[in-house]
Symmetry: C2
C-alpha cells in the first residue's frame, strides 16, 4: 500500500523539475522568480504552477513572485529531501548503471550506497564507484547497512524474488523499474516506474496534435 491522494501525484512528479530550475536560478544569483517565468519553463499555465507550489505551503507574493531560496527549502522539506536517504540498487545492467551514474540523485537527497547482481561477471566489479555485491547477500547487507530503500532494475521474472530479499533485509520502500506488480507486506511501499508511461503520453499528444486539440506542456 502507498499513501498519497491520486490527484496530487502529477504535482509531486513535477516538483523535482521546479527544484532543478530554482537551484539553477539560485546559482545564478536570482532571489525572486515570477509565476509567468516558471509557467514558461514548465510549459504549463500559471494556475497550475500556483496550485503545484501551494502543496509546499509557500504562497507567492501577488505581482512579485516567489522567493527562490524559501521555495527550494519548502519543496525539499515537503519531499523530505533535506535529509539524505540511502538506498541499495539491484540489477547492474544498463538501466541500473544509468541510475548509478545519475548525478542528480544526491541533489534529491538519495544516495545509492551499494549495488547487487546475480551475474558472476558483474559481482565484485565497480559501477560508477559502487561495488557490485552478490544478490545472495542482499538481505544480510541491507540489514547491516540499515538501508530502508531499495531500487529494482532486474528483469521482470526476477523482481519478486529480489523484493522478497529486500523485505527480509528490512527495506520498507521499493522503487520498482521492473515491468511487474510486486506482492509485499502492507507496511512496505512500492513505487512502480513504467517507462512506457511517458511514451503513452507522447503518443496521445501526437494524436491530439494531428487533431489540433489542447495543450499539456512538456511535462506529464
Amino acid at each position: 500500500m502507498g499513501n498519497v491522494k491520486v490527484q496530487k501525484l502529477p504535482t509531486i512528479r513535477r516538483l523535482p523539475t521546479y527544484l532543478y530550475k530554482l537551484s539553477e536560478m539560485r546559482k545564478a544569483g536570482v532571489s525572486i522568480v515570477a509565476t509567468p517565468e516558471l509557467a514558461r519553463y514548465m510549459n504549463l499555465g500559471e494556475i497550475v504552477i500556483r496550485k503545484d507550489l501551494a502543496v509546499t505551503g509557500v504562497t507567492g507574493q501577488p505581482g512579485v513572485g516567489y522567493k527562490v531560496k524559501e521555495l527550494i527549502e519548502a519543496i525539499k522539506s515537503y519531499l523530505n529531501w533535506d535529509n539524505s536517504s540511502e538506498a541499495v540498487l539491484v540489477g547492474a545492467g544498463s538501466l541500473g548503471s544509468a541510475l548509478l551514474g545519475y548525478e542528480g540523485f544526491e541533489e534529491y537527497g538519495l544516495r545509492i550506497i551499494a549495488a547487487f547482481d546475480a551475474s558472476p561477471d558483474k559481482i565484485g566489479t565497480e559501477v560508477h564507484g559502487r561495488t557490485v555485491f552478490d544478490v545472495e547477500r542482499l538481505s544480510e547487507l541491507a540489514r547491516r547497512l540499515q538501508v530502508r530503500m531499495g531500487i529494482i532494475c532486474v528483469p521482470a521474472a526476477h523482481a519478486q524474488e529480489v523484493a522478497d530479499r529486500m523485505v527480509a533485509g528490512g527495506i520498507r520502500a521499493i522503487w520498482n523499474f521492473a515491468n511487474v506488480s510486486l506482492s509485499v507486506p502492507d507496511d512496505v511501499i512500492v513505487q512502480r516506474e513504467v517507462i512506457a508511461g511517458g511514451l503513452a503520453v507522447l503518443s496521445v499528444k501526437m494524436n491530439r496534435k494531428l487533431a489540433g486539440e489542447e495543450d499539456a506542456g512538456q511535462l506529464g
Copy 2:
C-alpha cells in the same frame, strides 16, 4: 506545445500497465476481466479504474467486467499504438542502451531503428542490434528514413543541440530524458521524462506512511 488535458495525464501514464496486464491475460486464455481484479493489480480503487478505462470509450458490463480483447484494442487505438511508429535514439550511453534493450517497446508500437552518438568509441558499433551512427549525420538520416520521433538520452549540456538537429531532420515528436527544458518550434511536441519524479512520489509516500495517511497504490 503539447496537447492533452493535464487532468488526463495520470490516466494516460497508466494505460501501458493495463495493456501489459491484459496482454498477459489474453495469452493465458482469459476473455473477461472484472473491475476488482484490475483494481487489485493496479493497486487503485475501482472508481479510478472505471474512469481510466472510460477514456478509451469502452465501458464494462456491470457485474461482469470488460472484454479483454476489446479493451486491448481500445487502449491501443486510443494511444495510436495499433500502427507502429519508428524512432531514432541519440546518446548510446547506459540509459540509451537500456532503452535500446527494452523489449516492451515493440509491443507498444515503438520501433527504434537507429542510434546516434558523438563518441568515436561508440560510432560504428552495434547496441542491441542497432547500429550507432555519428550524431553529425542525424539530420540527414532522420530525413532520409522519414522518422518522426526522436529520443534524447544525452547529457543536459548537449540536449538542445541534439533537439535542433532532430527538428532540422524533420522530427516532430521528441521524448527527452535529459534534465533540461528544450526550445523547439510550436509544431514540435516534447515529452520530458524526469526520472526523479518517481523518486519524489516515493519520498512523499514514505513521509505519509510515517504519518499514517491515505493510499495511492504502486503507480503514480
